[in-house]
Structure formats: C-alpha cells, structure tokens
C-alpha cells in the first residue's frame, strides 16, 4: 500500500510535502496515522499518551521534511524511527511505572459494547506485556508483530543486522511468553 499507485507513492507525496504541499502531507498522515498510533500505544500502554506522542511524531516528520537535505528513500521506516525516538524520550522523561488505562478506541467501529470491552482488555493485556520488556525487545516485538513489518525492514529501522534482529526477536518472544504465562497464573 505505501507505494502502490505511482501517482500516490510515498516518495512523490514526501517530495510534494517537503515543498509545502499540505494535501500531500495530509495524505501521508491519513496513510500512517493508525500504524504509528498502534506502534506507540502498544509501547506506552496509555491511549492519551499515545495520542500526544503520535502527534509529536508527525510534527517532527513535518519539520524534518522541510529541513531534509537529501532524498528520503523510505518514509515509512523513517516515521517509525521517529516514533521510536519519541517513545524512548517519553520513557526518559517519565521514568515511572506504567499504568494502563482503558479509554482507547477500537478503530473498526464494528464491535458491540461487550466485544469492545473484551477487545479492550485483550489490548491492555498485550500492551502491558510489551511495556514490561526492555526497549529493544519492545521495538522488535511491536515492529514485527503489531505493525507486521518484515525482518528486513525491522533491521533497517533498528539499524541492526537481520541476524541480530532474529536473535532479539527470539529473546523478546521468550520474555513476553513468560510474562503472559505469569499473568495467566495470577489471573487463575
């Protein structure tokens, strides 16, 4: 999707947005808002914080595009990198234990209230599990499984070799599996 129709490719939109075309930036915003929000939400486990941080990500992208000296080859990867830095800064600023709130919305609008409560609890559980990991594990888990990026793209965003990403993925999955198992025990 990101680079589907040539008229609407990321590269063209980025170029137009960098020249001050608000429509182009608006299209990029519409295209990536949910993905970035999802990435941030599952790392900070708080919907209000996720909204604040998501807006900051796009604001940085906006100013970054205007100041871009060289051609931006992969806007999506770049956006996720900004999002990662925002999340890291956020943790640095807060340095406090996360608590989870439930006031997020489920974006397909097809849930009944009961299904929404159930899905919200499920999202909260997953988000808490991810937020319990150390930052590089969080990043690999979120990029790979929440945002569905490939090993290759994840490696690019994390600026690591693919082999290293695979090891991190293995360790992170083990940690999160342990966490979820403990949750099940304590719930049971």
């Amino acid at each position: 999707m990101p680079s589907g129709h040539p008229m609407n490719s990321d590269q063209e939109l980025v170029s137009r947005a960098a020249s001050g075309d608000s429509g182009a930036f608006g299209t990029l915003y519409d295209r990536y808002l949910d993905a970035i929000y999802r990435y941030v939400y599952y790392r900070v486990a708080d919907s209000m914080e996720a909204e604040d941080l998501t807006e900051k990500v796009f604001l940085k992208a906006l100013t970054g595009l205007a100041n871009q000296k060289t051609e931006l080859r992969n806007f999506r990867s770049w956006l996720f990198t900004i999002a990662h830095h925002e999340v890291v800064d956020h943790y640095r600023r807060r340095k406090e234990l996360l608590s989870l709130e439930s006031a997020h919305s489920l974006n397909d609008g097809t849930h009944t209230p009961e299904q929404e409560v159930e899905a919200r609890e499920k999202a909260a559980q997953v988000a808490l599990a991810i937020a319990s990991l150390k930052p590089e594990y969080q990043q690999v888990i979120t990029l790979r499984f929440i945002n569905g990026l490939s090993h290759e793209e994840t490696a690019k965003i994390m600026k690591l070799k693919e082999g290293h990403v695979r090891v991190l993925q293995y360790r992170a999955l083990r940690r999160i599996r342990e966490f979820l198992a403990q949750e099940l025990v304590s719930d049971g």
Binding site: M7, Q11, E12, S15, S19, G20, S22, G23, F25, G26, Y29, D30, L33, D34, Y37, R38, Y41, Y42, S47, M48, E49, A50, E51, D52, L53, T54, E55, F58, L59, K60, L62, A66, E71, S99, E101, S102, A103, H104, S105, L106, N107, K122, A123, V126, I141, R144, F145, I146, G148, H151, G163, R166, V167, Q169, Y170, L173, R174, I176, R177, L180
Partner: protein, 467 residues
C-alpha cells in the same frame, strides 16, 4: 543448537506463519514438529499478531490533522530565486509532474505569442480532459509563486470556485463519471483555502472574513446545484418543480435523496443525519457540505457549525469565530516544533475572582484576583491576539458562552484562556479536570504550558481514565 540457530529457525517458522493460508494457531505443528519451545513461541507470536487494532479517537484524528496542516512551514526562503530552486527540485524529483510543468510553460509561451494574451488553453479544461492536469499544475505553480498568505487565500478562493464551476459544467454534460473527482477537487481547494486563511496575519482577518462572506455564498448555491444531480439550474422552472417534489418525497422517506446520498458518501456521515439537517432544520445541501468541511477543519461538530452559521450569518464570520482565519502573524514563516511556544509571550493574564486567590502561574502569567477582567485577557500589544486581530471572532463567541455556562464561570474568563492560545477543546478538558480534582484551573493550564500531555496531567491529578 546455539541461540542464533534457534533464532533463525524461529524466524523461518514465523515467515511460514505469515504466509500460512491456514489459521495461525495451526502453524506450529506444521512447521516445527520437533521443537516444543518453538511451538510455544509461535503461538505467542500469533497472539501478538491478533492483538486488537487500536486507533486514536476520531476527534483526535481530525483535530490533530488540522493542527499539523496549520503548522505546514513555508518552503525555505521566499525569494524568487529560492522559488525557482524549489521548482527545479520538484521537477528533478517528480517525473510525472515535470511534463505537466514543461507543457504548462510551453503552452503559456505559445498562447502568449499566438493567442495574444495571458489565457491558458488549459484554463477552460475540465476533469477528464487531457489538458486538465496542466490546468491544475499551472494553478499550483501560481500558488507556489505567491508569497503573501492573504494573496494566497484570495487565489485559493478563486481556485475553489473554479473547481465548483467545473463540477457544475460536468453536470450539464454526460460526463458525470468525473463529478465525484471534481467535488473532491473542490474539497481539496477548500482545505488549501482554510490553511492559507489561517496562516494570514490577524490584521487581515477582517478583510478576509468580508471576502469569504462575499464569495462563499456563491459556492453554497453552486454546491446545492451540483449535489442535487448537477445539470439542473435554478432558472429552469421544470427543474425547480422537480426538485421540490424530490425534496418533499425524500423528507417523507418515500424516496432516497441523491444529494443526501452523495454527501453521506463524501463525508462518511449517516444519510439520516444529513436528511435531518435538511428536512427538520431547513439547511440546504450546499450549506451542509460547507458545515461538514468546516467541522473537519476545526474539529467542532457539524451540528454546532450549522448553529453558528444560523447565528452569525456568513461563512467568513463562522470561520473567524472558529479560529480558521487570521491566526498567523505578520512576517512569521516557519513555525516552531512546539506549537505552544508562543504562549509564554503572554505577560500577564488577569482573571475574575472566582479563581483561587492563591493560584499563581508561571512567572509570565499571574492570576490577580483583585483585578477585574473587562473584555477578555489584557494582552501586551503585539504579543497575543486580541479581538481586533481575530482572537475572539464573534462577540460573544458561541462556544465561549456555552463553556462559561457549562462550568459556571464568566464568559471573559473562558475567552481569556482562548485568547492566550488554548483551544476550546483544551479549555473544556481543563475545567473538567479542575472540577474533578478540585484544583484551580489555572494550575492545569500551567501544567499544560509546561509541556505535559493531557494523559500526564490526568495522572498527576490522580484522576481515573476517561475523566
């Protein structure tokens, strides 16, 4: 087996899981029969992949978009030379755009010599014509080469009008297949118009408000004709009668109104809602479309926008009241990364004695209960918007009045916060938190000014989620 080897096997199994046509939970047994650990990890991965699709609230989606687009920086530098460099950069990076510009320039030159004037051949083209992209490219170029935001607003207004005229002409022909795209073009032009109107300096607000009040009613009636199945004109008696019958039947729910359907599809608003505004409250389809666009740009619900339209009369006044006109500053080009940075320029804000007397804000903003607030905030000249420069807009501002009534505070207090740079949504939330936590609202605004997000403020106040 060492860790790297297990990690590689897991990665391969995950890839197979991604490609699997069968349910994810079945994958482990199919790809890793010999490893209990890998099976468990694959199940965990499948669970993560199936995590619910959370998304931001719709109101955030709209408001954040509007805030971001309002921050769009001008291209670096505003000299003719830098504009030409910008053009060169675009031409180098956008292969599909280059021919349009080259053709535009060539055709302009050609008609300058042969046609003996400034008219573009492409200017009369319509969606679907081969010259149409050239027409649009020429307009974009003209807008790019214009520096003054007020002039940009005028140009955008003209361009929005052109898009509408194109849509109307399409309706008079059999080329209705391009109608939706022409309407989309009008909406995009309107978005550009609002952006430039917002970036214009406050000193130009009155002039732009008057201009929009004068021009946009024409858009409203043209939209009405286009939405009602373009092609019918008000001067055509037969058409007018047919429209009246159509309206009557649609309001009696005997038929579905095509204009209502078209609007519902364009904006993703329920058809019944559109028809309720049309049948029960008497708004025209053109008016409803402009209200929906305004709602998207401002984040204020369309219902409220329509109420404001009734109260204030013109779209210019409505936009000004909603802060969509004249929010820029003279000479200001590139906004800072932090949108609220300019707020600290407000030297002193006085409020009514209803605030806690001991409340003190940052050194730049002190609450002085003994001073009575007469109009709005008392700004230092040149630092903060005032009613004259487009801060207040309609007086009294309907949203301001509503919030004052809702929270039992004076209108002046609400408008004082608004004029110091807080949006009505933020003011609403600040008072909600203030009431819930029992802390002065000034303290909450100070926290916001200090850069805290609303989620952080809520937590620091010890309020539960959803407050």
């Amino acid at each position: 087996m060492d860790e790297q080897e297990i990690a590689d096997r897991l990665a391969a199994a995950l890839k197979a899981q991604e490609r699997a046509p069968h349910p994810l939970a079945d994958t482990p047994t199919r790809v890793s029969e010999d490893s209990g650990e890998l099976d468990g990890l694959l199940v965990t991965a499948a669970r993560l992949r199936n995590a619910p699709a959370v998304g931001p609230r719709d109101v955030f989606r709209r408001q954040s978009r509007a805030r971001l687009l309002a921050q769009m920086p001008e291209p670096p530098g505003v000299t003719l030379w830098s504009r030409l460099r910008l053009l060169k950069k675009r031409m180098a990076s956008q292969n599909d755009w280059r021919p349009a510009v080259v053709w535009t320039l060539l055709i302009t030159l050609f008609f300058s010599f042969v046609g003996g004037g400034t008219a573009y051949a492409a200017d009369n083209s319509r969606p679907g014509d081969w010259l149409y992209p050239i027409d649009l490219a020429a307009e974009r170029l003209q807008l790019d080469l214009t520096i003054d935001p007020v002039e940009k607003t005028r140009l955008s207004l003209g361009m929005a009008g052109e898009r509408l005229e194109e849509a109307r002409q399409l309706g008079n022909t059999d080329r209705t297949e391009n109608l939706e795209s022409a309407l989309g073009g009008y909406r995009a032009a309107l978005e550009t118009l609002v952006r430039h109107a917002q970036a214009s300096p406050g000193t130009a607000a009155a002039e732009l408000t008057a201009l929009i009040d004068e021009v946009v009613p024409g858009h409203e009636s043209a939209l009405e004709a286009v939405l009602r199945e373009a092609g019918q004109t008000a001067s055509d008696q037969e058409a007018v009668r047919a429209q009246a019958v159509e309206d009557e039947f649609a309001c009696a729910e005997a038929i579905v109104h095509p204009a209502g359907v078209r609007l519902a599809a364009q904006f993703g608003v329920p058809y019944d809602q559109i028809m309720s505004w049309f049948c029960e409250r008497g708004f025209g389809f053109g008016e409803i479309m402009l209200a929906l666009e305004t709602s998207l740009a401002s984040g204020v619900p369309a219902d409220e926008v329509l109420a404001m339209k009734t109260e204030l009369g013109g779209w210019g006044k409505v936009w000004q009241a909603l802060g969509l006109i004249g929010k820029g500053r003279k000479g200001e080009r590139t906004p800072s990364v932090t949108p609220r940075a300019t707020r600290t320029e407000v030297p002193t804000l006085t409020a009514t004695p209803t605030l806690t007397p001991t409340a003190t804000l940052t050194p730049t903003r002190t609450i002085t209960p003994t001073v009575t607030l007469t109009a709005t905030a008392t700004p230092t000249p040149g630092t903060t918007p005032s009613p004259e420069t487009g801060c207040v807009g309609a007086n009294p501002h309907p949203k301001g009045s509503q919030l004052a009534q809702q929270y039992g505070v004076s209108y002046e207090e609400i408008m004082g916060w608004f004029c110091s740079g807080f949006g009505f949504g933020e003011i609403d939330r600040a008072y909600t938190y203030s009431n819930a936590a029992g802390v002065p609202v000034a303290q909450i605004f100070a926290m916001r000014d200090a850069g805290l997000g609303w989620g952080q403020i809520r937590k620091q106040l010890g309020l539960p989620p959803g407050t």
